[in-house]
């Protein structure tokens, strides 16, 4: 929790977004106040339209997210030609599904197989396929994940509750440039009768980053 600012609660309430559920005794943190001040100055000087900020936030909270990636995975599981396209040219595959607005250039899809498991990290910052999976979760940006994924990927996967068989090859992809990687997991057994939507519901962000197999 952010530290509470002592005193001045009445006028500071002006800065609190009232459109979500929270304890009204909350007052904004100093970080919230600093962001508010920054926004006010940048709006005042004509750099920023607050309505554009609203639109960015709405897009990231409601439109893009792991469900986009899950849909790609599910379609690849049922449609071999789509899978081939996804592995060859992920941007073309996204466009085919009507996600041309979300196409991130230089997106690369890594296929898990019975012999290979892929894991994605950015050790230097937080590079992530956000146009396909939405913004990265806190754990992906954590110093713990960034530092450990390259030196002990099998240990990281264990920390996330899974394990990689001894004979499987683990490939870690450190996103050091403008390419963005995500994992096409293996289709789970016993899912023969399921349709694309049901299959997509089985695919999580953790699978598409590779911390789960």
């Amino acid at each position: 929790m952010a530290p509470l600012l002592q005193g001045g609660g009445a006028f500071l309430c002006y800065f609190i977004r009232m459109d979500h559920d929270h304890d009204h005794s909350d007052v904004p943190s100093d970080l919230a106040l600093r962001v508010k001040a920054l926004e006010s100055l940048l709006v005042e000087h004509g750099y920023v339209d607050p309505a554009a900020l609203d639109a960015v936030i709405e897009t990231m909270e409601q439109k893009v997210g792991p469900h986009v990636g899950a849909r790609l995975v599910a379609k690849a599981w049922v449609d071999p030609s789509f899978k081939a396209l996804l592995l060859q040219d992920a941007s073309a595959a996204l466009t085919q599904l009507g996600y041309e607005e979300y196409v991130g250039a230089h997106t690369v899809v890594l296929e898990n197989t019975p012999a290979v498991h892929n894991l994605v990290v950015c050790t230097l910052c937080s590079c992530y396929p956000w146009t396909v999976l939405g913004l990265p979760p806190v754990w992906y940006k954590s110093h713990a994940y960034r530092s450990r994924a390259v030196i002990d990927p099998r240990g990281v996967i264990q920390d996330f509750g899974g394990s990689i068989p001894e004979d499987v090859e683990v490939r870690v992809w450190d996103s050091t440039a403008e390419l963005r990687y995500f994992v096409l997991p293996e289709r789970p057994g016993g899912t023969d009768g399921l349709g694309e939507e049901e299959l997509a519901a089985l695919v999580s962000r953790d699978h598409m980053v590779g911390v789960k197999r």
Binding site: A2, V35, G46, D54, V138, H143, D152, E169, V172, A177
Partner: protein
């Protein structure tokens, strides 16, 4: 720079902070900060590499203490001063509009440029140079001096080491390079495991 941000292979850096059903933003100010950053990026006053370098240059103890969006905020506050954003009051029209804000295309330039020759081909053995770039670099310490194999040629990409310092885009070939996990980390790693990094030709030498 050999900063604390270059943390591949370090130990003792805390917990993952995993949350089930994690929200996209943990508080309204994080959302505003994220969006402010997008709105300011649209002005192209600074480039992405310079932006990353601003965050890398936070003092190490601050970098390790701050939350993700606090780093963004602190770097942006510094940028307001560095780039003298508030020193003139000429009329401006915001570059990011409610319409353009919904488009996620990252606007990267094409990586195809046949006029730039490639020194390496897939399968070539290379060595990541043992160098200590003083400014921004995307060559992590943990591969410097190690041998790898060119896995793929990604075409030509803007070179962060010069672009971050406004010393030119210097577009040249970027390769996916495969390093053996045992070569990087020793016998505690599995023999069949590997690490792939995307490395610019300037980071590599024939081996």
């Amino acid at each position: 720079m050999n900063g604390v941000h270059d943390m591949g292979g370090m130990e003792g850096l805390g917990d993952y902070g995993y949350e089930v059903d994690e929200p996209v933003f943990h508080s309204p100010w994080e959302a505003r900060m994220y969006a402010l950053n997008r709105a300011m990026a649209a002005w192209r006053i600074w480039n992405l590499d310079a932006w990353r370098h601003d965050i890398e240059r936070l003092p190490a103890h601050e970098y390790l203490r701050m939350s993700y969006y606090e780093k963004w905020l602190t770097a942006m506050e510094k940028r307001v001063v560095t780039y003298k954003l508030l020193e003139s009051s000429v009329p401006r029209v915001p570059k990011l509009t409610p319409e353009s804000a919904t488009r996620l295309n990252r606007g990267l330039t094409s990586s195809v440029d046949p006029t730039v020759p490639a020194a390496f081909q897939p399968g070539d053995r290379v060595r990541a140079r043992q160098i200590q770039p003083p400014g921004h670099t995307r060559l992590p310490r943990y591969v410097r001096g190690h041998y790898g194999i060119i896995h793929a040629d990604h075409g030509v990409h803007i070179f962060p080491d010069t672009n971050a310092h406004y010393q030119g885009k210097n577009r040249h070939h970027l390769y996916s390079v495969r390093f053996s996990a045992q070569d990087l980390w020793g016998p505690s790693a599995k023999a069949q495991d590997s690490i792939y990094l995307d490395l610019w030709e300037a980071y590599l030498e024939a081996a």
